[in-house]
């Protein structure tokens, strides 16, 4: 389902932490990965390349990559669906690129930050659009203006960057954004009201070709870019067959290097058939569910390389903290009664692990220091419940102040984790004296119920951005704090960590944030999964990281069509 597939751009895994809790470190029978890249991707090399299929080898200069679906929205302003985004990533470049470790490095420009940290000056490199027009600083100004326009209805929210004059443009009559100035054709100056940790990430943007029409209040030109894309990217748009495939061709004048593979096609794969399509040679790369069976089948095929890496996100069970029955001790007890390790093992085998804080293990801010592991222990849980004031009444049910502990869990059908977790949860919780009811709804109904705070307990997953800041989700003023968690101490820690600009200092501050959240258990963190890519071994030099899809650096990949 959608939640489990939310992927996002960026961040990195340090090799050390990877060894401790990494994907690809399998037990039997696959054994250790053959190699682990700097970005923390484990690769199982193909063992018998002679088994490669002609259907794939025939496509000498074309690579076909499987995908889930297309909405056909290829405008960089409006792209929403992550699969449309893969196409956009190949066609458009930004000021900054995302490095393997999730930090921002120079992309289309080099940059200098002022003393007070509030002004960033970009010097543009020599880059041209596909039609030969050179990229100018003014082009970036146009992009910012579209995002700041009140008529803009897309998913990006640049207001988080706190650029000077943003609000005047959005709500007022300003025709320019005060904080965005094109000093000359090659120099762009961006000024923010307040410099925070993620500032560079938040101001990252792409240039808009001068032919795209834009006047304040009229964003139709930006929308039309779906049908008429024009960018600076490594691959140029050729054709979109509705619901079927997208075809792109190499931009030989790409500013970094000419792509080695001439044609790229993204082809829709029906769910569940990803591995089969690679085995048949219909596609060269696809993205099956990271399960032991799939990884094994890929290895068995002989000519498939398996790339396994951590997904930048986590699955959790939300709890409505505002309900009196869910006080801190009770929440801790519920977490202790949840057999997360066995459930994760049952569903994903070695390809998921239990987490105890809302941070991805691929982030630079990851730390396990001082965290309670809440290991599965029913007796411990019973004790905690007792300490919280719950006692068993005459019918064996837990009761406190005249009310029994009833929990209604709202879930979505057709989710592999819930299939295993819910029956186990029900059995364990009821053995403790809790009445556990399960109801199902479809996804938007669930979101609606959760947003209106009508759900007691539910399951969802977050896909994260490179920056580890959890303000929106765990701060009492956070827009996505659907569990209604509120602790002024934690708020302070989160704000402090957000405003610190030195990454080393931030990392220390985040340790405290994770410890605070781990103690409070606002929601029950279940797993962080791995993603697995099945790649035909003829594809070489494929680069990917948990924070940056393989599409961004696809220009570096090449095809070796020999059966060796």
């Amino acid at each position: 389902m959608k939640a489990k597939r939310l992927m996002s751009a960026a961040a990195c895994i340090l090799a050390v932490s990877m060894v401790l809790s990494s994907c690809g470190k399998t037990q039997q029978p696959l054994g250790e990965a053959d190699r682990v890249t700097e970005a923390g991707v484990s690769i199982f090399d193909a063992k018998d390349k002679s088994k490669n299929v002609d259907a794939a080898l025939k496509r000498e200069d074309t690579i076909v990559i499987g995908t889930v679906e297309f909405n056909g929205v290829f405008s960089p302003f409006y792209v929403e669906n992550q699969y449309d985004k893969n196409v956009v990533d190949m066609m458009y470049d930004n000021l900054f690129d995302i490095a393997d470790d999730g930090s921002m490095v120079d992309g289309l420009a080099t940059h200098k930050v002022s003393e007070d940290g509030k002004t960033i000056t970009f010097t543009l490199k020599d880059v041209k659009y596909w039609d030969g027009t050179p990229v100018k600083a003014q082009d970036f100004v146009t992009s910012y203006k579209v995002f700041a326009d009140k008529a803009y209805t897309g998913p990006s929210d640049y207001s988080l960057a706190q650029i000077k004059g943003w609000d005047d443009y959005y709500n007022g009559d300003a025709t320019e954004i005060a904080g965005v100035v094109a000093k000359d054709d090659k120099t762009l100056e961006v000024t923010v009201d307040k410099a925070i940790g993620p500032t560079l990430e938040y101001i990252n943007i792409f240039p808009t070709h001068p032919s795209v029409s834009y006047t304040k209040g009229d964003v139709s030109g930006a929308q039309a870019m779906s049908q008429n894309p024009i960018g600076t990217g490594a691959y140029k748009f050729v054709e979109y067959k509705e619901g079927e495939s997208v075809t792109l061709v190499a931009n030989d004048d790409y500013y970094k290097a000419a792509p080695k593979i001439k044609n790229v096609i993204l082809s829709v794969t029906p769910t569940g058939k990803e591995l089969q399509r690679v085995q048949l040679g219909e596609v060269d790369i696809d993205f099956p569910e990271a399960s032991p069976e799939n990884v094994q089948a890929g290895v068995d095929a002989g000519f498939i390389d398996q790339y396994v890496m951590s997904n930048n996100g986590y699955g959790y069970v939300g709890i409505n903290n505002a309900l009196s029955k869910f006080d801190q001790k009770t929440r801790q007890a519920l977490l202790t009664a949840l057999n997360r390790d066995d459930i994760n093992e049952a569903v994903y085998g070695p390809y998921a692990f239990t987490i105890n804080a809302p941070v991805s293990n691929v982030s630079w801010a990851y730390s396990e220091e001082g965290l309670n592991k809440y290991a599965y222990n029913l007796e411990e849980a019973a004790k905690l419940l007792e300490e919280a004031g719950w006692t068993k009444n005459s019918s064996g049910k837990l009761e406190r102040d005249g009310e029994t502990l009833d929990i209604t869990f709202t879930g979505m059908p057709d989710h592999p984790v819930l299939e295993v977790m819910l029956p186990v949860m029900k059995q364990d919780y009821e053995s403790l004296g809790i009445t556990f009811n399960i109801e199902y709804t479809d996804f938007p109904s669930l979101v609606d119920k959760v947003n209106n705070h009508k759900a007691e307990m539910w399951f969802m997953a977050w896909g994260l951005t490179p920056d580890p800041d959890p303000k929106q989700t765990y701060h009492s003023e956070g827009a996505q704090n659907t569990y209604q968690y509120s602790n002024p101490e934690t708020d302070k820690l989160i704000d402090e960590a957000l405003e610190e600009t030195d990454q080393k200092k931030r990392k220390e501050l985040y340790k405290k944030v994770w410890q605070a959240l781990n103690e409070d258990v606002p929601c029950m963190w279940i797993y962080q999964r791995c993603d697995a890519w099945a790649v035909n071994s003829r594809v070489k030099n494929l680069e990917m990281s948990p924070f940056r899809s393989l599409f961004t650096n696809l220009y570096k990949a090449e095809l070796d069509n020999t059966k060796a």
Binding site: V64, P155, S226, P270, Q276, F443, P444, S445, D448, K449
Partner: protein, 320 residues
């Protein structure tokens, strides 16, 4: 007949209006809306609210209905919230794929079901009848995705005779005849699945109807007159047995255009069925309502067609 037609067509107008009100309200009242469905951990409340306003989701439902209706009568069904282009354009993109699939499957279904149904009836309890019955029951007791998955496994994965999914081979750049052949190979399995699954039901209806008719006196009379068995069956019996088949055909008209969601999902076929289902899941109201109204029109027309055909099949039926 002309008066009948005109009367029915005029009746369609208030009907469609009523249907549009019901459909609109039902769709708009579903919990969660298009913005909710896009859940994004970094969207601020202001942005969420702003988006809802821009999409018109904060107006009260009756207001939204009137706005929609005013545009709908001018055949403007708004823009899809997922595809960000006009609803009519989205439907047009996907519908014809489904139509081709469904039409061929439907014809195939008739070609299979009617003869087998007839033979089943004329030779009741024979081997053909038993085989036909078992086959039909298999079709209705197993979910349609089962047959699709089975075919995929056998023909695409194990035997590798046919392609696994989609409508054409990516990266092959076929032109001319090779292209049509490629598309044909891709359509083969979905068509077979669709027709086999429904052929069973139609076959049962044909068989039962024929059994009723075959034992009637006028059939005995026809035989006594010395007419060949073939003429007796196909000219005299079949006509009267067609009533339930016609009813069934009437239902099938809208399905020709509304796509087969499950089969399309299994074969990754770019059809309107999955698009419509996704529209519900993502609460893409303009798209879903536009599509439903289109299917509603076809449903009404389908029943009208069936009613006309009844009179043609059985002249004793009087349509008042």
């Amino acid at each position: 007949m002309a008066k009948f037609l005109v009367r029915r067509l005029l009746q369609m107008i208030p009907l469609l209006l009523g249907i549009s009100i019901i459909v609109f309200f039902l769709t708009a009242m579903m919990p969660g809306d298009a913005v909710d469905a896009k859940v994004n951990p970094n969207m601020t409340q202001e942005q969420i609210l702003h988006l809802k306003e821009m999409y018109g989701l904060t107006d009260p439902i009756p207001v939204r209905y009137v706005k929609w209706l005013v545009n709908a009568v001018q055949l403007d069904f708004g823009d899809s919230l997922t595809y960000l282009k006009p609803v009519t354009s989205v439907i047009n993109d996907y519908m014809w794929n489904s139509f081709i699939l469904s039409l061929i499957a439907f014809i195939l279904q008739l070609v299979i079901a009617i003869p087998i149904g007839i033979v089943s009836a004329t030779r009741q309890y024979s081997a053909v009848d038993t085989a036909g019955t078992v086959f039909a029951l298999l079709g209705i007791s197993l979910p349609s995705f089962f047959l699709g998955l089975l075919f995929q496994k056998i023909f695409a994965i194990d035997l590798q005779w046919l392609p696994l999914s989609g409508m054409s081979t990516a990266g092959a750049n076929y032109t001319g005849f090779a292209h049509y052949w490629d598309v044909f190979l891709h359509l083969l399995m979905p068509i077979l699945v669709l027709s086999l699954v429904s052929a069973g039901a139609m076959m049962r209806y044909v068989r039962t109807a024929m059994l009723e008719v075959i034992h009637q006196d006028y059939i005995r009379t026809a035989r006594a007159k010395g007419l060949s068995e073939k003429v007796v069956i196909y000219k005299h019996a079949l006509r009267n047995a067609m009533i339930p088949v016609i009813t069934y055909i009437g239902f099938s008209l809208p399905t020709l255009f509304s796509g087969a969601m499950i089969t399309e999902k299994v074969f990754g076929f770019p059809g309107i069925g999955k698009v419509a289902y996704d529209a519900i899941i993502k609460r893409d109201y303009p798209l879903y309502i536009g599509f439903t109204m289109f299917v509603a029109v076809l449903t009404l027309l389908g029943n009208l067609l069936a009613d006309i055909l009844y009179a043609a099949a059985d002249p004793r039926i009087k349509m008042e």
